[in-house]
Amino acid sequence: MAFSLHGVHVPHRKNTAAMPAVRMGAPGTVTLPMVMHIGKAAIPVVKVGDHVDVGTLVAEQDGKISSPIYASVSGKVSKIGDMLLSNGSTAPAITIESDGEMTVSETVAPPKVENGADLIEAIRKSGIVGLGGAGFPTYVKFDVGDPSKIEELIINGAECEPYITSDTRTMLDRADDMAFALRALEQHLGIKKILIGIENNKKEAIASMQKLAAEDVCVKVCVLPALYPQGGEKVLIYHTTGKTVPAGKLPIDVGCVVCNCTTLAEIGRYLQTGMPLVEKCVTVDGGAVKEPKNVIVPIGTALSDVFDFCGGFTVDPEKVLYGGPMMGIAVPDTSVPVLKQTNAILALSKKEAAPKKTTACLRCGACANHCPFRLDPCAIAFAYKKRDVEELERLAVETCMECGCCAFNCPAGRPLIENHRLAKALVREARAERKAKEATK
């Protein structure tokens, strides 16, 4: 690897790194949207009035790219209705009124895994999706036909977003679960090379993973510079293996599978206990939060309940986010639930979330000079203004992972990521139109 990719030095603010996760009690209700993953919405298999226990299947996956959903509390299904998701679309959601007992379902039992197909089926059934934030169904990543295609399994422990420490806590507190999952993957899929990528600002997590590596010859810990976005999938692959994933291709096309460390730990837990993904460790932080902590929360718990568990707010939050401040999603109100892929909920104070005043572009190049994918946001903005699809394609706008380095740096406070999203949508639309035209020919 000749050069490392560009990035930015974001403030770390890992205030909660030394705080082991505390478990929150059962909330009054949980709301489970049928979309907590990339892909098709899951289909409810329970009716209003049904009694469910922790781990009861409440929705089955629909098609390959989808994921089943399980009850995260015991109680009664009180409502199945549409809900507005943070991306603006609507999806059905199941509301469960908790009975406060957290009774575990009788269906929860460790899966029988004897070969690779069993393992992939177990991961599918566990309802585990990419817990780093993307929410891509995890089993699909391993279901590559011939497992020998997987040359390297890269475990993502970079955790490059400010504030978030839930992955750090996984690496510190759940190394056993991770090791169990790794052994299963080695045994049944024949994976021989496992690289754990961690930013160098997490000394304890590195030590914990090095201990794990000492007991497993396949595992190597890669200590990486703390340079955001180190945990971006293609960035991590490049920095741990030196491989470049071509634009428009998947990691598996270069023989890599990337799996977040918490995702891995969840696989380990499922294999040992049979408890599907029903709870999540989230970092609760931000200037407006009274007592920042790492909290283990039943999936579907309203953010407001989690914030209340952390002592509420010291000041009115300006912004509440799912995820970190660089790529997180701002939510309109705190009644929305913790999702499968939620790794942090942040309540930022006015000072933290202060937007920069938007002024004219200086062509200073700070955006392009910090883009890990060597894109030119300035040129993209210009091409989008002209609605020049051809130019946008030439500028490879679609490879943008929306890490936010450009907009973070822009001295003129220009909304570059917003612009990239609009440009990407424009390119997608134009491509679909082109395809439709060709089809009618």
Partner: protein, 309 residues
């Protein structure tokens, strides 16, 4: 209370750097040269500086006022333009000429093209060239032979006399207010590098090319080549004018190309042209070339064949 939550696209935090803070850094970096100019050339230098800065800021203010545009003088870019122009003028320039030059820089070169970020060429450089051409006396004033500024070293060098290198380094020679004291300019340049306002590629390529090219032309006489390099507006131009974001390439490779070509042009004009100094013309020409350099030196996006594993 939840209805008060602010929703916007990521990222939700930003670096502390703003256009204003960048401009402020440039002003700070120019202060050593300005102070040196006042020490070397006296209070008339101060008058020129104050005149250019005041007229520049006022021009932009009035322009925005008349055209009912959002007021932009707060970004401090007009201060930078005024200061740069003043440092490019001799201390004995008539103040009315300095004022006209400032109005030209701000109104014609910057505002009429759409304001900061939209100008094709550097306002201060263009105004200097405009004054050189427009005011007959200006051509003499820029390279005067009178008592205030003294003979510029470039004229002396062309005549075959070599000024002392130490005098050139400290600025005890004739020339424009801010261009003679290389030491002060270097201090400002190092400040800008440390603050990461500019990158080294352009100034180093520019100054390095002038030195090497001159070295070849003077028969590898090290001292004479160094004297040529330390003379004229090279350091002021290479560190402060050519690095103007708006009118120079955005990538390090592009900056390097810009620097080398500007260096070659400067030497060609100095040795073979009608004017004793070529820095301004070289930068102005390269400003116009910048869009092409940007096009030729664009990076290949990751995964599109740029870097192989």
């Amino acid at each position: 209370m939840d209805s008060k939550l602010h929703v916007s696209a990521s990222p939700h935090i930003h670096s502390a750097r703003t256009t204003q803070s960048i401009m402020l850094d440039v002003v700070i970096a120019l202060l050593p040269a300005a102070i040196a100019g006042v020490i070397l050339f006296g209070l008339s230098a101060l008058a020129v500086i104050v005149c250019c800065v005041a007229v520049s800021v006022l021009s932009e203010f009035v322009f925005n006022l008349i055209l009912k545009k959002e007021q932009t003088v707060g970004d401090l870019s007009a201060v930078v333009t005024g200061l740069l122009l003043a440092l490019n003028l001799p201390a004995n320039v008539p103040l009315w000429q300095a004022g006209v030059g400032s109005v030209f820089a701000i109104i014609v070169v910057k505002c009429l093209f759409g304001g900061l970020g939209h100008n094709l060429v550097n306002p201060a450089i263009t105004a200097r060239v405009f004054m050189l051409v427009a005011f007959g006396s200006m051509a003499q004033a820029a390279f005067p032979l009178d008592t205030v500024a003294g003979a510029t070293p470039l004229v002396e060098l062309a005549a075959g006399n070599s000024p002392s290198l130490m005098d050139l380094f400290l600025g005890k020679t004739g020339g424009a207010i801010g261009e003679t004291c290389t030491l002060a300019l270097l201090i400002g340049g190092i400040y800008l590098l440390c603050r990461r306002v500019i990158q080294w590629h352009l100034p180093v390529a520019f100054i390095g090319t002038v030195f090497l090219f001159t070295l070849a032309l003077v028969g590898f006489d090290f001292v004479t080549a160094l004297a040529w390099t330390l003379s004229g507006g090279l350091f002021l131009g290479a560190i402060f004018m050519a690095t103007d974001y708006v009118t120079s390439p955005a990538t390090p490779l592009g900056m390097f190309v810009f620097g080398v070509l500007a260096g070659v042009l400067t030497v060609v004009i100095r040795f073979f042209g009608n004017y004793p100094e070529g820095v301004s013309f070289a930068i102005l020409f390269m400003n116009i070339m910048t869009p092409f350099i940007d096009k030729w030196t664009a990076r290949k996006p990751f995964g599109t064949g740029g870097v192989k594993a």
